[in-house]
C-alpha cells in the first residue's frame, strides 16, 4: 500500500514537471518577445529589459529559473495588467473552488440517486423520464446551457441577479456546470446498480429474508458506487474546464474566466501560470481519486 502511494505520488510529480516543461517550451515557441509592443523601444532599452528579466540567457537556464520561482510560489507578473499572478490566483481561485466543489458534489450525489432510482424502477415511468432527461443533457454543452439559463432566468424572468461584485448568486452557474456530469453519473449509476442487483449475493440476501431497504442500501448501493467513484477524476477535470466557459458566460470573477481572458488577450505569462496551476490541480485530484478508489475497494490489487 505505502509503496503504491509513493509510486502514484512520484508519477504525479513527474506529470506536473512534464506539464511545466511543455507549457514553458510551447509558450517560448510563440514568435515575438514580451517587449514587442506598439511603441518602438530602442535597442539599448530592450537589451536592458532582457538582461533585467534574464531573457538573454539560454532557454534551459530560463526554464530553471522559472521552475525555481514556481517552487517558491512565484508565478511571475501578468503581461497585460502587470499584476502579480499569485495575487490574481489567490483572489479568484476561492470563488472557482466553491463553484466547482458544489457542482461536483451535486453531480455525484444527485446522479447516484437518480441512477439508482432508475435502476430500481427499471422500465417504469420514472426510469423512462430519468433516462430521457439524462440522455438529452449529455448532448448539451455547458456553455449552451449556461447561456440559456442566463437568458431565461436572469434576463427574461429576472429571478436571479446578474453576477456582479456585490451580487453573488451561485445557483445558475452551479446548475450549468453540474448538469452534464450529473447526466453522465446517472447513466453510470443506473448500469452499475443493475449489475449489482443481478449478483448472487443479492439473491442470497433476499433468500435469507433481508428487508428490501437493507438489500438496496447495504448490499447493492455500496457495490454500485465503485464505478461512480472512478468517474470522479474525469468529472473534476470536466468541471475545471467547464468552469472556464460557465464563468465567462455569467461573468463570475473566478480563475476560469481569468484564464479565458488571458487567452483572448494573449497574456502569455498568465496563460502559462494558470495552465500549470489548473493542470497540477487536476493531477492532484486524480491521485486522490485513485487512492480513494483503491481504499474503498479492497479487491483491487496494488500494482
Amino acid at each position: 500500500m505505502a509503496r503504491y502511494i509513493l509510486k502514484r505520488i512520484g508519477l504525479a510529480i513527474l506529470t506536473v514537471f512534464l506539464i511545466c516543461l511543455l507549457t514553458f517550451f510551447l509558450m517560448n515557441a510563440i514568435p515575438g518577445g514580451p517587449f514587442n509592443s506598439e511603441k518602438a523601444l530602442s535597442k539599448a532599452t530592450i537589451q536592458a529589459l532582457n538582461e533585467r528579466y534574464n531573457l538573454d540567457k539560454p532557454i534551459i537556464v530560463q526554464f530553471g529559473l522559472y521552475m525555481k520561482n514556481l517552487l517558491k510560489g512565484d508565478f511571475g507578473v501578468s503581461l497585460k495588467t502587470g499584476r502579480d499572478i499569485k495575487e490574481i490566483i489567490g483572489e479568484s481561485f476561492p470563488i472557482s473552488a466553491r463553484l466547482g466543489l458544489t457542482a461536483v458534489i451535486i453531480a455525484l450525489v444527485a446522479g447516484t440517486i437518480f441512477g439508482s432510482v432508475a435502476a430500481l424502477m427499471r422500465n417504469k415511468l420514472p426510469d423512462r423520464i430519468i433516462i430521457f432527461i439524462s440522455t438529452l443533457f449529455t448532448a448539451v454543452p455547458s456553455f449552451v446551457l449556461a447561456t440559456f439559463l442566463l437568458l431565461i432566468f436572469c434576463i427574461k424572468l429576472g429571478w436571479f441577479p446578474v453576477w456582479s461584485a456585490t451580487e453573488t448568486n451561485y445557483v445558475l452557474p452551479v446548475i450549468s456546470l453540474a448538469m452534464y456530469p450529473m447526466a453522465y453519473t446517472t447513466r453510470l449509476a443506473k448500469t452499475s446498480m443493475l449489475d449489482a442487483l443481478s449478483q448472487d449475493y443479492i439473491r442470497t440476501a433476499r433468500a435469507k429474508g433481508v428487508s428490501r431497504w437493507i438489500i438496496i442500501f447495504k448490499h447493492a448501493l455500496r457495490n454500485s458506487l465503485l464505478p461512480v467513484i472512478t468517474y470522479a477524476g474525469p468529472e473534476i477535470a470536466y468541471i475545471i474546464t467547464g468552469s472556464m466557459v460557465v464563468e465567462t458566460v455569467f461573468t463570475v470573477g473566478g480563475i476560469g474566466s481569468k484564464f479565458v481572458n488571458a487567452i483572448t488577450n494573449r497574456d502569455y505569462t498568465m496563460i502559462m501560470a494558470t495552465t500549470i496551476f489548473l493542470a497540477s490541480l487536476m493531477v492532484v485530484a486524480n491521485v486522490i481519486c485513485d487512492l480513494l478508489y483503491k481504499a474503498v475497494d479492497p479487491r483491487i490489487k496494488y500494482e
Binding site: L26, T135, I271
Partner: protein, 358 residues
C-alpha cells in the same frame, strides 16, 4: 438362401456393433422439415445491422442526421447568399439588413420585392454584420461535422497503427510504447489542447490562396491537437483487443505457415476487433464536436469569417436580450447533431457488441 434379415441373423459376437434395426423408426415428414435451412446464413455485419434496424431510437437519429446532412449539402446550392457575404440589394450595400428577425426583410429589400422582384427569405434572419444567418448556421454545422469526422479518422489511424504494433510486438517494445501512452494520458487533455491551440494559432501562418490558408490555421491546429492527444485512448483499446485475439489458434496457424506480422495484423486480427473500432470511432465524433465547439466558444476555433456552431453561439451572447434567436439556432443545431450521433453510437454498440452495452 433367404433374404438377409438383420434381426434374424444372430450376432456373431457379444461385443458386435451390429445395429438392431427394430429399435429405430423412420423420420416423419415433419421431422425431416426441421432439418431444412429456414433462412439464409447470416454474417456478422448482417446480424449487427438487423439488430441496429430494430433499435427505433438509433434509426430515428439516423434519419435526423440524414436530414441535417441533406440540408447542409443542398442549402448552399439553393440559398443565393454566402456565409461571408454582406447583403446587397441591386448591387447597393443594404445597411438596413442588420439583425433582422427570421423571415423579415429590410426596408430596401421590401422596396425591391414591391417592385416585383424575388428576394430569397432570410430563414433565420441576419446577423449584426448584415449576413444571412441561415447560411452561416449551415456552414457552422458543416465545419463542426467535418472537424468531428476528420478528427475521429485521425485518432483512429494513429491509434490503430500504434495500438496494433504495441499489442502485437509485446515484451519490451510494448512496455515502452505503453509508458509513453500513460504519460500522455495523465496530461489534462483540455488544458493541453487550449495551450497547443494558442501556440499553433500564432505559429502556423499559411500564405494566402493556398488550400491550407482557406481552411485556416486554427482548423489545422485543431486537427494536430486531436491527433496528438486523443489517439491514446484508441491505442489502449486496440492494444487490449489484440492482446486477447493474438492468442487464438488461427493466428498460430497463420504464423506456422509463414505469414508475416503485417499480414497477420491486417487479415486476421483487425477484422476481429472491427466492432470495437467502429463503436469507439462513432462515439469519438460527438466528443470531437463538443471539443471543437468549446474551443470556438473560447475563441480558439476556426478563423474569423468562417463560422462554427461554437463561435456562432459565442457571438450570439452580444445582444442576447434583443436577439435570443441567434443563440437558439446554433445551440439547437449542436444539441441535435451531438444527440443523434450519441444515440447512433449507442445503437451501434448495442448492435455490434452486446458485451459492451452498459
Amino acid at each position: 438362401m433367404s433374404e438377409y434379415d438383420v434381426n434374424k441373423t444372430p450376432k456373431k459376437q457379444v461385443l458386435s456393433m451390429q445395429l438392431d434395426l427394430s429399435k429405430f423408426e423412420k423420420a416423419t415428414e415433419e421431422e425431416k422439415k426441421q432439418q431444412d435451412v429456414m433462412s439464409e446464413s447470416t454474417t456478422f455485419l448482417k446480424d449487427g445491422l438487423r439488430r441496429l434496424r430494430k433499435n427505433r431510437l438509433a434509426m430515428a437519429s439516423l434519419i435526423v442526421l440524414a436530414i441535417i446532412l441533406v440540408i447542409i449539402i443542398v442549402a448552399p446550392m439553393v440559398v443565393p447568399y454566402s456565409y461571408d457575404e454582406i447583403l446587397k440589394v441591386n448591387g447597393v450595400r443594404d445597411k438596413g439588413a442588420k439583425n433582422l428577425a427570421p423571415f423579415t426583410y429590410s426596408v430596401l429589400e421590401q422596396e425591391y420585392i414591391d417592385a416585383g422582384n424575388f428576394r430569397f427569405p432570410h430563414i433565420f434572419g441576419t446577423d449584426e454584420q448584415c449576413r444571412d444567418y441561415f447560411i452561416r448556421v449551415v456552414y457552422g454545422t458543416r465545419v463542426s461535422l467535418v472537424v468531428g469526422f476528420f478528427a475521429s479518422i485521425i485518432v483512429l489511424i494513429i491509434g490503430l497503427i500504434y495500438g496494433s504494433i504495441s499489442g502485437y510486438a509485446g515484451g519490451r517494445t510494448d512496455l515502452i510504447m505503453m509508458r509513453i501512452v500513460d504519460m500522455i494520458y495523465s496530461l489534462p487533455d483540455m488544458l493541453v489542447i487550449i495551450l497547443l491551440s494558442v501556440v499553433l494559432g500564432s505559429v502556423l501562418k499559411f500564405k494566402g490562396g493556398s488550400f491550407l490558408a482557406s481552411i485556416g490555421a486554427n482548423m489545422i491546429s485543431m486537427f494536430i491537437v486531436f491527433g496528438v492527444l486523443y489517439w491514446v485512448g484508441m491505442a489502449r483499446l486496440i492494444r487490449a483487443q489484440i492482446l486477447s485475439i493474438k492468442e487464438n489458434e488461427y493466428v498460430l496457424a497463420a504464423k506456422s505457415i509463414g505469414a508475416k506480422p503485417g499480414r497477420i495484423i491486417r487479415k486476421h486480427i483487425l477484422p476481429n476487433c472491427l466492432s470495437v473500432i467502429i463503436i469507439s470511432t462513432a462515439l469519438q465524433i460527438p466528443s470531437a464536436i463538443f471539443t471543437e465547439s468549446y474551443l470556438s466558444f473560447v475563441g480558439l476555433g476556426v478563423s474569423a469569417p468562417m463560422p462554427s456552431l461554437g463561435s456562432l453561439a459565442n457571438a450570439a451572447r452580444e445582444g442576447l436580450q434583443s436577439y435570443p434567436y441567434k443563440l437558439v439556432f446554433p445551440a439547437v443545431a449542436i444539441c441535435l447533431v451531438v444527440l443523434s450521433l450519441n444515440l447512433i453510437g449507442d445503437g451501434l454498440r448495442d448492435a455490434f457488441d452486446p458485451k459492451l452495452s452498459r
